[in-house]
């Protein structure tokens, strides 16, 4: 309705970002990422009877399994009280009397939190990349950078969902419940449902649709994105034959991820402006 003033977005984003730097949230999350990634890189093959770094593909495959649990949880915790927290504390009314639109406020909050999350991800996994770099070729580093980029996008998608919940929820308690429910649904339940449906129908009906159903879950998009960019992993998972060609393009999957970032945020803005 009204023009967007990017300066106002920047001011709100700057405050959110520096809040997370100052209260050491960014540092804590980065350390968690570094420690987990190092443990996986060096001890990931312990079950096979060996320790030490082996291959970037296997390391990334293990990291994907970790990140798929961890990043959605961290993003949801980071964002669930973005709006409802201010509303419950009572600071929201004052903000809304200032020369800022509700759209700018949400976009600013999102940008600041997304910046903090991206910074933690880059610092945490980047540190591991630097440690491993003497043992990695250019191609492996490229793959690792791709993994980091997709991890950031995964975080952005769940942060977007969190901000949306934060607008809809009546209070912080409900918002946290909704955030945990969202995590359970996308990270734990969704794949089981699809698998269950596949088993019940014995693959007879619409078997070709199932791969596309994975696009309805940003966590699955992230998994597919990483699994398909790695040759060794693709054969490891034995997925190459069952997956439609159209879904194996990183650009397509990246586009789907961007839709998962923009969609909930747009719903949040729509609702907040009511």
């Amino acid at each position: 309705m009204f023009s967007i003033d990017f300066r106002q977005i920047g001011i709100v984003a700057g405050k959110e970002f520096w809040d997370r730097i100052r209260n050491r949230w960014v540092l804590a999350v980065a350390v968690v990422f570094t420690v987990f990634a190092l443990v996986i890189a060096y001890f990931g093959a312990a079950q096979q009877g060996t320790v030490g770094f082996h291959s970037i593909d296997v390391t990334i495959a293990s990291l994907v399994s970790l990140v798929i649990y961890l990043i959605p949880l961290i993003a949801l915790i980071l964002g669930f009280d973005a709006i409802v927290g201010e509303r419950e504390r009572g600071s929201l009314d004052l903000l809304l009397t200032l020369p800022i639109t509700r759209k700018e406020l949400i976009l600013g909050k999102y940008a600041g939190l997304a910046g903090a999350l991206a910074f933690s991800t880059i610092a945490g996994f980047g540190a591991v990349g630097v440690i491993l770099s003497p043992q990695l070729g250019l191609n492996a580093l490229f793959h690792y950078a791709g993994f980091m980029a997709s991890a950031i996008l995964l975080g952005f998608a769940f942060l977007s969902l969190a901000v949306m919940l934060s607008v809809f929820a009546g209070d912080r308690t409900r918002a946290s419940g909704m955030a945990i429910g969202t995590w359970f649904f996308f990270v734990l339940v969704f794949d089981l449902l699809i698998l269950g449906a596949l088993v019940v129908t014995a693959g007879d009906y619409g078997g070709a649709v199932f791969p596309y159903l994975l696009l309805l879950n940003p966590a699955d998009v992230f998994r597919v994105l990483n699994v398909f960019s790695l040759d060794e992993v693709r054969t490891l998972y034995g997925l190459a034959t069952v997956f439609p060609e159209a879904l194996s393009h990183p650009a397509t999957l990246g586009g789907v991820m961007l839709a998962w970032i923009a969609g909930p945020l747009m719903v949040a803005i729509w609702r907040f402006e009511r």
Partner: protein, 303 residues
């Protein structure tokens, strides 16, 4: 005649089937210190929030300085407004000066004006301390400094003296007087009627979603026609003598507090009663005319 800066016409707010504000008309002149009083649930907070554009009006129209607060020129309009919410909540993790910087940035006010504002509200010594460590009164002062950023032409103050000690309340009203001298319009709510009755130019009494009365405290007293009290002290046998001279006048009653006599009487009987009491001469040691308080006026309108 000063120009109107706040104009509400036929403002109604429905929450589902409940009508919180019912067709309110109100105009506040530029430079006025205006009080809005009413008990909890009278609709004054709802009206306040509609004036600030925090909740939409169901019907009617509110204009601030001729503009809608949610209209296309809302940024300019809002830059002219300062708001101090009731029990203001700021950010615990920021220091006092950082808090002002944040709001100054959003209002596009230079950060260089912030230190002087902290000085003005008496918080210069705590500029570098986190708001977490602030007392309730200090938070209120910081909230007030925030409202003053950018020299607003119009200030909305919701229960502004909550949590302030008497000295701070005096300082607060001193600043309000200075602002009024500069031509700033102020709308404030308070439940401490005694505190605002000597300080506002005009006030509106709200009850059940409507404005029952608007005017100066004195004009409301007169319109209500509430009884006055003459408080007199004197020598022995005062009560009998007073009763004798006032005989025939329409007196509501005489109470004896032990130290003084309290004569309740209608406003129109005031001058005749004073003339007759003057005839008592030396017997009368002291005399005060007590106007009904805003409290009396307020409760008069409620019943």
């Amino acid at each position: 005649m000063a120009s109107t800066i706040v104009e509400a016409r036929g403002v109604t707010k429905d929450f589902g089937s409940i009508q919180a504000v019912k067709g309110v008309d109100l105009s506040i002149a530029a430079g006025e210190l205006f009080g809005l009083i009413g008990h909890n649930g009278a609709g004054k907070s709802t009206l306040f929030k509609m004036m600030l554009g925090l909740i939409p009006v169901t019907r009617g129209e509110i204009r601030l300085d001729g503009e809608s607060v949610t209209g296309p020129r809302f940024r300019d309009t809002r830059r002219k407004i300062g708001y101090l919410p009731e029990n203001v909540v700021l950010y615990d993790n920021l220091t006092g000066i950082e808090t002002l910087y944040f709001f100054a940035d959003l209002k596009a006010v230079p950060r260089s004006s912030c230190a002087a504002l902290l000085e003005k509200v008496g918080l210069a010594h705590a500029a570098g301390r986190r708001v977490r460590e602030y007392s309730k009164g200090m938070r209120q002062r910081l909230g007030f400094a925030q409202a003053l950023l950018g020299k607003p032409r119009l200030l909305f103050l919701d229960e502004p003296t909550t949590g302030l000690d008497p000295g701070a309340i005096r300082d607060f009203y001193r600043i309000l007087r200075e602002l009024r001298d500069e031509g700033v319009t102020m709308v404030l709510t308070s439940h401490i009627l005694a505190e605002i009755q000597e300080r506002v130019d005009r006030l509106a009494i709200m009850e059940g979603g409507v404005i029952r009365a608007t005017g100066t405290v004195q004009s409301l007293r007169e319109a209500m026609n509430l009884p006055l009290t003459l408080e007199i002290a004197g020598g022995a046998g005062l009560r009998e003598q007073v009763a004798r001279v006032l005989e025939g006048l329409a007196i509501d009653g005489i109470d004896d507090s032990g130290h003084s006599l309290h004569i309740r009487l209608p406003r129109e009987a005031k001058m005749p009663a004073l003339a007759r009491l003057a005839t008592l001469g030396e017997t009368l040691r002291d005399l005060h005319v007590r106007e009904p308080s805003l409290e009396d006026v307020f409760f008069g309108y409620r019943t």
